[in-house]
């Protein structure tokens, strides 16, 4: 459904928009174009961030600092963290898939605020370019993505200020996106579509957007204060001027812990879309899934200080945050059991999308278990700020979110382009990524437990062998990108024609052509009240899968 008083207007605008590939580098207002802009832009930044990770792993193959100067190493790790979080995972799991899918799921022809949407995207490339160019012009920020003062105040100012400006721009982009998602889900929903009939990804995005709107501004305010400390020599976080460094940590983690949920909740939503389609089963326990998302949102806002157990926080605070953090395991656990129950008794096509989703489940369970362990103060006091933590959060954001991003690309690529991806390459990609990832990060748990702190360029020579294994894993991960890149580029021109609905899915984005027309549906928007009605909805109503569809040749 469209907005009558603006539809003629927006059609006129659409006509003025460039067509063909040019539209992807224009100020397009089409949510699908913006979604793909987010995806491609994010992926380019992922390659850059990955190259930086490669540089870090090369440095760490030897126990001495020999590959790059020490200050450059700190710049590289700061850029790696910032790019991967703010320019890859957050924009892609929220911006890319959110923009592409949410209007379909609520039965709308676009987002609530198309112009704001385009602005939100176009804040990202300049912010990212600025961040990266700071390395070449002035030297990038050196204080880690956490930018803890007083290190961030005393290290070279130019890079740090550029870092702050980029993060502020990216934060602004994320807030605009969040407002847009909330408005679209709550206000642009088809009148007959109840909230509890929405696909799970809508709920995940609603929860995520609430977190974005509530917590990102706090980070913005904090960084503004930090920039005052750097530029105007105020003393908010500068102890030599009477400031308090712990206040920064509280404010920073008030955003940056929810940021973890901003990165994984949409991933949870995407998995909940992908698994039922390929298992041919309804999503198990829809209602509890919804409640557990909301429970994670609420709990996610009150657990931030578990990042600060060694910062001298008082005992009562440690106790409170231990309890709150541990309890996040309950709604999260429910979601994982529900996914397994969705698999159970299904007719699972073992294609790349499912493999990546199941890889996600396995990785995330491990990351979640180490997460609960880290929430325990006495345990954390030993491993805080070590490679154990590095391993933990890579299991969450890479093993979790990035695996889901790949899974989602395999799942929705036919919709994006109208062509199928090559399954063999996809499975090869999964195998390499899964092995490489676990080889890279599993040994890091041991490193952390045995005394290797994070963010170091040099370490105890006893750890060299394990670090080399880890670097080998990183190399495999880097190689694993190649079949994927080849696959997405080659298939865009030569892949099998997908047809409207290659997976026989029931969610609304499949009930239109691939790729979809500008306003999503030629005729009326379909009202989908049972997005997971597999097994109950009459099979004759659906188009039979095309012979070259991978869902047919799955079991080999």
């Amino acid at each position: 459904m469209t907005l009558a008083n603006s539809s003629s207007n927006s059609e006129a605008i659409q006509k003025l928009q460039p067509t063909g590939w040019m539209k992807y580098i224009s100020f397009s207002l089409d949510h699908k174009v913006i979604g793909l802009q987010y995806l491609v832009c994010g992926f380019i930044f992922y390659l850059i961030g990955g190259a930086l990770a490669g540089a870090i792993r090369i440095e760490l193959t030897t126990p001495i600092s020999d590959f790059m100067p020490r200050d450059v190493y700190n710049q590289v790790l700061t850029l790696h963290g910032t790019i991967m979080i703010f320019l890859w995972i957050v924009p892609v799991v929220n911006g890319a898939f959110g923009n592409y899918l949410i209007p379909f799921y609520v039965g709308a022809r676009d987002m609530a605020f198309p112009r704001l949407n385009a602005v939100a995207f176009w804040l990202i490339p300049p912010a990212g370019l600025m961040l990266i160019s700071s390395y070449f012009i002035t030297g990038a920020a050196e204080s880690g993505w956490t930018a803890y003062p007083p290190l961030s105040i005393t290290s070279p100012a130019a890079g740090q200020i550029i870092w702050i400006i980029s993060v502020l721009l990216l934060g602004g982009s994320s807030i605009f996106g969040g407002i847009n998602f909330i408005a679209t889900i709550l206000k642009l929903r088809q009148p007959n579509l109840k909230l509890m009939q929405l696909p799970m990804y809508c709920w995940a995005m609603l929860g995520t957007s609430i977190l974005v709107v509530l917590s990102t501004p706090v980070l913005a305010g904090t960084l503004i204060l930090l920039s005052f400390d750097i530029v105007a020599h105020t003393g908010f976080f500068n102890p030599s001027l009477g400031g308090n460094v712990i206040v920064y940590q509280h404010l920073f983690w008030f955003y940056s812990h929810p940021a973890v949920y901003i990165m994984v909740l949409p991933a949870f939503g995407l998995v909940s879309e992908i698994l039922p389609v390929h298992c041919r089963k309804p999503l198990f326990g829809y209602t509890t899934m919804v409640y557990s998302i909301m429970a994670i949102v609420i709990l996610g806002l009150v657990v931030w200080a578990h990042h600060m157990f060694t910062s001298g926080t008082p005992p009562w605070m440690r106790l409170f945050f231990t309890i709150a953090t541990s309890f996040i395991a309950v709604p999260t656990g429910i979601k994982f059991f529900n996914w397994v129950a969705t698999l159970w008794g299904g007719k699972i096509s073992l294609n790349s999308a499912v493999l990546f989703s199941c890889g996600f489940i396995i990785n995330f369970v491990l990351g979640g278990i180490t997460g609960v362990a880290l929430a325990q103060v006495p345990f954390d006091v030993h491993v805080h700020d070590t490679y154990f933590v590095v391993a933990h959060f890579h299991y969450i954001v890479y093993g979790g979110s990035v695996f889901v991003i790949f899974s989602s690309i395999y799942h929705w690529y036919p919709k994006f382009t109208g062509r199928m991806l090559n399954e063999t390459l996809g499975r090869f990609h999964f195998l390499l990524t899964f092995i490489g990832f676990n080889l890279c990060f599993a040994p890091q748990h041991w490193l952390g437990l045995n005394g290797m702190p994070r963010r170091v360029a040099e370490y105890d020579p006893n750890f060299a062998f394990i670090n080399q294994i880890s670097s080998l894993g990183a190399l495999l991960m880097a190689i694993s990108t190649l079949p994927f890149l080849w696959n997405i580029i080659w298939s865009a021109f030569n892949g099998g024609i997908a047809g409207d609905n290659p997976w026989n899915a029931l969610t609304p984005e499949w009930l239109t052509s691939s790729p979809p027309p500008i306003e999503n549906w030629e005729g009326n928007a379909p009202l989908v009240t049972e997005p997971y009605g597999y097994g109950t909805i009459n099979q004759e109503d659906l188009v039979e899968p095309t012979p070259e569809s991978p869902s047919e040749e799955s079991s080999q």
Binding site: A4, F113, L116, I179, I182, L186, V213, I224, F236, H250
Partner: protein, 200 residues
Amino acid sequence: MTTITPINEDSKQESTVIESHADHRMFGLAAFLIADGMTFAGFFAAYLTFRAVNPLPTNAIYELELLLPTINTALLLASSATFHKASKYLKQTKNGLCQRWLMITAVLGVAFLTSQMFEYFTLPFGLTDNIYASTFYALTGFHGLHVSLGTIMIFIVWWQSRNPGGRITIENQFPLEATELYWHFVDGIWVILFVILYLL
């Protein structure tokens, strides 16, 4: 946050559904203001923590007069009321009266800013003297920025609600309503700020 164009319930089954876009814009603005409010909340939290945890060095000066800010509070509260009056007149298509009350609101806003500047110049401490002072300036400055923006918006709205020729009419109230909501928000933040900074 009132709906302007009535939603035609029956026509929703048709492919061309008439819906009030302005309604969503107000919703979006409200969401944005919640986000903006969280920035202030962060600043307040920082200020209160500093007050609770970091004692003021013995030679540092941090004293605030109460008279001027109380007048400022009165000015802003009054301006909220006058803005409300203006928007009521617009709904009665009395654009002239609406403009008059908008002008009064804008004048109150300017008066607030002037008075705030006067306070800045007479305070015995500067931005970098101590963290209480820094946080004071950061908070009032950030709020003042909001008031300045709001005042500019009111002037624009004032100009656009002239009749004839203005864009803001009974059919297109959104700019005025949005500015009003924003103004009330800025006003509300001031009340919290006044209590926390001056009274506590």
